[in-house]
Symmetry: C2
Amino acid sequence: MESVRVTYRARVDANEVEARADALLLEQSVELPRAAVTDPFVEREILGEVEEIAAEAPGSFRITIAFPVATTALDPAQLLNVLFGNSSLQEEIELADVEFPPSVFEAFGGPRYGVAGLREAAGVHGRPLTCTALKPMGLSAKALAKLCETFARAGIDVIKDDHGLADHPFCRFEERVAACQMAVERAADATGRLALYVPSVTGTAETVATQLRFAEGRGVRAVMVSPMLIGLPVLWQLVHGKTELPILAHPAFGGALRIAPETLFGKIFRLFGADAVIYPSFGGRFAYGEERCRRLAHVLRRPWGPLRPALPVPAGGMTVERVPELVDFYGSDTMLLIGGSLYEAGEALLERSRAFVDSVRAAGGTQT
Amino acid sequence: MESVRVTYRARVDANEVEARADALLLEQSVELPRAAVTDPFVEREILGEVEEIAAEAPGSFRITIAFPVATTALDPAQLLNVLFGNSSLQEEIELADVEFPPSVFEAFGGPRYGVAGLREAAGVHGRPLTCTALKPMGLSAKALAKLCETFARAGIDVIKDDHGLADHPFCRFEERVAACQMAVERAADATGRLALYVPSVTGTAETVATQLRFAEGRGVRAVMVSPMLIGLPVLWQLVHGKTELPILAHPAFGGALRIAPETLFGKIFRLFGADAVIYPSFGGRFAYGEERCRRLAHVLRRPWGPLRPALPVPAGGMTVERVPELVDFYGSDTMLLIGGSLYEAGEALLERSRAFVDSVRAAGGTQT
């Protein structure tokens, strides 16, 4: 029987850990006391079993449970529910890790483009990709398009909306997307290279679908979503029939979950089809350390079942000065997202953006 | 200018708290260093301001920020993003509380039925409602329908699917819903009272819409969703044009968020349109204490702008024996959800369920 193997971290006393592991198994499957589970099919095919309990530190254990894959119905919302539905409400429990069987890989599919597809779309090989964000919220579509053109002229590969740019009255989605896509096309006339403009699509599943159709109609070649804001199953739905475009995933609203970032952003985002995943890098405004950032990049790119590798996009307060260090750390199959450090240049935005581009080209980066 | 007032709890040193508050404001609005914010419209209409910093305990502060309502675009995903998008990635920050201005109440609307509408649908007045769950996952549609009929014959008001019942190969959604709705109708022929059977709809936004249409066609009169699994904006979309049915909200996958439960389940679920909200009660399998449970019930039911009160549904390991205590604690405008404590009766399920019903009728409960 195929199983989804889920590892939880539990803060619990050693003399309680076995009972706690059994309670976790029941909570995440039948949600009944064991004595009330009398149906033989349920016992055999649904309950699953505790596979391992490993002490990690005093009062901290890793509990690995194998849930029969049938419990997930191979549905994106129900999969999340089996992984961490009710147990998310228990403060002593963290979702640490998960491994999926072939049928889950097959049903969910992972990235359709991934590292290679995004390199193809951006026309970039043998070095990391460069990326920046259009902001701040509050600027007009015209002002954002002007920034977009500057970045494109400087040679930045991927220019994305800040994830806070929604369909605001002072900057309508359609006006912004039309203007920014035209801006990268204008710049391409001058530079000979067409930057990827990546709008952020957000709202209800219906709004997202409407925005996607508009963007596609304007020639946009990739989009960004924040799966934790719109709902992870909505990301899956986009990948399965709603759009042919590559998808960048933004971590907004996802950091607060008591789920290891490697598992949520590294595994679940990739499984659900994100081609690239933005996450906070070390040394910026967020508290992720080097080890976590290295693991995240590894989990996104490494061979994993039949899934394509996804492109890691470290971000969040990185500076142009740190490019050599970052390229050395992350390697070539990476997209470096630098925003604020360019904007701080004020009038010298074009030059500062060129310095970013030159610096990445100079650093090169080894193939990872 | 109308504002959304958001209170964060920050674990930070006293000499850093002012800078941290300013950084929070920037992170949640423009996502730029303050020096890079030069546009006068942005400064005036987007940035917002830190309204209050209050020491709570050594190293713990409550920071209240007023964000101009325009930043939210009155969109459900963008509202969540302004409340807790990027700052969710900062482990020292918790979303503690939020207050909305009239335009948000008007745009989001809150419950369409709430306490009064659910009482009307269930035909119950002057006492708490009784509720139980169909489980475990793994039973056939026929077996679940048999349980459903037993509960309905016992006089339970609301019989809901366990939130783990999806569209499984061993128990298809459509087969289950048809059978369970027929079961409550059969029981009504005998008892003269039609129990509310409440299926759990789950999956992508499209699956949810398809399941809803099927349920409506079979005469189902209320449904349940897990907003954190399907995506909060999907809940809002259901309420705004997708269904006329009252909606019960389940907290699965939401407990892990570093958001105060009173804010997420009490305020945000209510604002987005949940008519009833299930949450873990004290003294059961979850760690919520009495004070939190009391506040949750209060936040759901109290007058709040023009919004209808929502029905609190305490759950999670409560027992029939505790009914008098629970009715006394929660008052009349409550729905008591007891599952496992009925199932443990085994062959005596009907009698145990009747004891639950009788106990709630006897306890009555004061109007709250």
